[in-house]
């Protein structure tokens, strides 16, 4: 009872300043999108992320606070391409907030601003197909996508809060140029390794690796969410050994036992890379995330074998 009272008081307390400053309430599904919204919107927005940076955004377990947060939101910013399909539609429905219903201006999928890779073509056979038939949803890890993403977010913010539209557009351009200022550094850091082959656990880093000319020679988890078969692990180990592949990139939220095994038997090393802002120590914003990924990859690929 006491806890409930404290909670009620806290809720009321957080409502008051919001009403005074009239900032719009934005809920982003991931920390990367939340960071972008914050950098673009500044004081005109109050943003919260549903996933934390070290969490697998494919799976989120419903908690009461998510629905309460969503019930008060003016805008939802999601990744899209079915990344959040397992939980966001139910949470949005559960929030009973018509302002953020999909199809309205209060619901924005950032994927609409980019051209996805890995789109299933022709007749989609679900037995062999990809978990995301509309394309790989991990596009935010391609820094060249940051500018269109930011502009799309600015338009969504402008739609929810037309009074500050100019400020949002300026914020997006400022963010885009901060990212653009670093593109050459990142390119230079990974240029020596262009054409190098790596193995990944899930297809999370495909956009980032493709951007810098790194080739994905194989995927550990060949069917998302299912333990790979012994034949697949053996085949992958053979590929790693025969082609002298040195790096297996691995997401922090997947069990690394199989990756470790392939690395040990094939003579490679496992590099655990964050997939989102907050996914590793010191990775506090979008530029910091790409910085970290590029540096870790360059260090791992450059290490003498």
């Amino acid at each position: 009872m006491k806890r409930t009272l404290i909670r009620v008081v806290l809720c009321v307390a957080t409502l008051l300043p919001a009403a005074a400053s009239a900032a719009i309430r934005v809920v982003a599904t991931t920390t990367d999108l939340a960071d972008m919204v914050e950098q673009i919107g500044g004081d005109n927005v109050r943003v919260e992320a549903i996933c934390d940076g070290a969490q697998d955004p494919h799976f989120v377990q419903a908690r009461p606070s998510y629905m309460v947060t969503l019930s008060r939101a003016d805008l939802v910013v999601a990744v899209g391409l079915e990344l959040e399909v397992g939980w966001l539609p139910s949470l949005v429905a559960g929030s009973r907030n018509p302002r953020i219903a999909p199809g309205t201006s209060g619901y924005f999928e950032v994927a609409t601003t980019i051209t996805p890779i890995g789109v299933a073509t022709g007749d989609v056979d679900r037995r062999a197909g990809d978990i995301h038939p509309r394309g790989n949803p991990h596009f935010w890890l391609d820094p060249d996508s940051a500018a269109p993403m930011a502009r799309g977010i600015a338009e969504a913010l402008a739609g929810a809060d037309p009074d500050h539209a100019a400020s949002y557009r300026a914020g997006a351009e400022a963010f885009a140029s901060r990212v653009e200022a670093r593109l050459d550094d990142w390119q230079a850091a990974l240029a020596p390794y262009a054409g190098a082959e790596v193995v990944s656990y899930h297809q999370t880093f495909d956009y980032l690796l493709a951007r810098y000319g790194l080739v994905v020679a194989g995927v550990v988890e060949d069917r998302p969410g299912i333990q790979p078969s012994p034949a697949h692990v053996a085949e992958l180990t053979r590929i790693v050994r025969d082609r002298g592949i040195r790096v297996i990139v691995h997401e922090p939220y997947f069990d690394r036992a199989v990756s470790d095994r392939v690395a040990a038997d094939g003579g490679a090393r496992v590099v655990v890379l964050p997939t989102s802002v907050g996914g590793a120590r010191g990775v506090d914003d979008y530029i910091g995330l790409i910085d970290h990924l590029v540096n870790e990859l360059a260090a791992a690929l450059g290490e003498p074998s």
Binding site: R63, V68, G86, S90, I226
Partner: protein, 282 residues
């Protein structure tokens, strides 16, 4: 506070709907000594649904429901027939074996499906917090029909469940009894399949077994045990949802823990009460 009622209202009513039948069915399950029969039947239903979605290459819809229904009916038939050989064959062992086989078979089928993990989640981890009023109304309507069937057939089912536990004699020789046993397990399978998809395996198990166990501590007649059981289910639902709200944790797991704490408290009360009555008073 009004927020809590707004967001948890459907979940609480869904708990009441589930409790209405599960508390009663749990007493049957306990008397028949097949505690894990719900897990086995839920897993069989999940297996059937998975076969349809993977091999038949369909997303959802009535066909998937038929797949779930067919495999759980096969399970019901197996348990009814295995019950005939009670003296030589532990039904609890059969239930456990069916659970393990159905789970393993499902994993094999899922390894051919790109949406494997998602389906596993959908079929076995219903999410209580996401209950909506239309969904609660749909389940309540189905449970009303299932409840009516249970009321209509209560004499047969009670005689079979409690008769078998008492005797272990040759009382289940007749094939008519086996047919009624099948009817019981079939109705049970339908009930469980609905509730598992709505609130998940662990809460379903708790709603079945914990009220039945607690009621044994305090009452003997079936009617009195039902009153105790329903009270336990309602208190655990309220406490679990309140815990979920104040601590901001998933509702299903919170209710399961509430059931556990309630059972512990009830056991202490029962122990203290027993100390204060003379021994061997019956």
């Amino acid at each position: 506070m009004s927020d809590a009622i707004l967001f948890l209202g459907p979940a609480f009513v869904l708990c009441l709907v589930v409790a209405s039948l599960h508390v009663y069915l749990g007493m049957h399950v306990l008397a028949r000594e097949v505690i894990f029969v719900d897990l086995a039947l839920a897993q069989l239903a999940a297996f059937g649904a998975t076969v349809v979605t993977t091999v038949g290459d369909v997303e959802a819809g009535p066909v998937v429901g038929v797949g779930a229904f067919v495999t759980s009916l096969a399970g019901a038939a197996l348990f009814a027939v295995a019950g005939r050989a009670r003296e030589r064959l532990s039904l609890e062992a059969v239930v456990g074996i069916v659970y393990a086989m159905a789970t393993a078979a499902m994993l094999l089928v899922l390894s051919r499906s790109p949406h494997g993990a998602e389906h596993m989640n959908e079929l076995l981890a219903g999410e209580l917090l996401l209950a909506s009023w239309p969904m609660v109304a749909r389940i309540a309507a189905l449970y009303a029909v299932l409840g009516a069937a249970q009321v209509a057939l209560r004499r047969r089912f009670v005689a079979l469940s409690w008769g078998s536990a008492a005797g272990h004699s040759g009382s289940r020789g007749s094939w008519a009894d086996t047919a009624w046993d099948f009817g019981f397990y079939a109705l049970f399978a339908i009930t469980i399949t609905i509730s598992v998809q709505a609130i998940g395996v662990l809460p379903v198990f708790s709603f079945l077994i914990v009220p039945a166990v607690v009621s044994q501590l305090f009452a003997t007649s079936l009617a009195a045990r039902m009153v105790v059981g329903w009270t336990v289910a309602i208190v655990a639902s309220l406490a679990g949802l309140a815990g979920s709200w104040t601590l901001d944790v998933p509702a299903g797991a919170s209710i399961v823990v509430a059931f556990g704490l309630l059972l512990a408290a009830a056991s202490v009360v029962a122990l203290v009460r027993r100390r204060h009555v003379p021994m061997f008073s019956g």
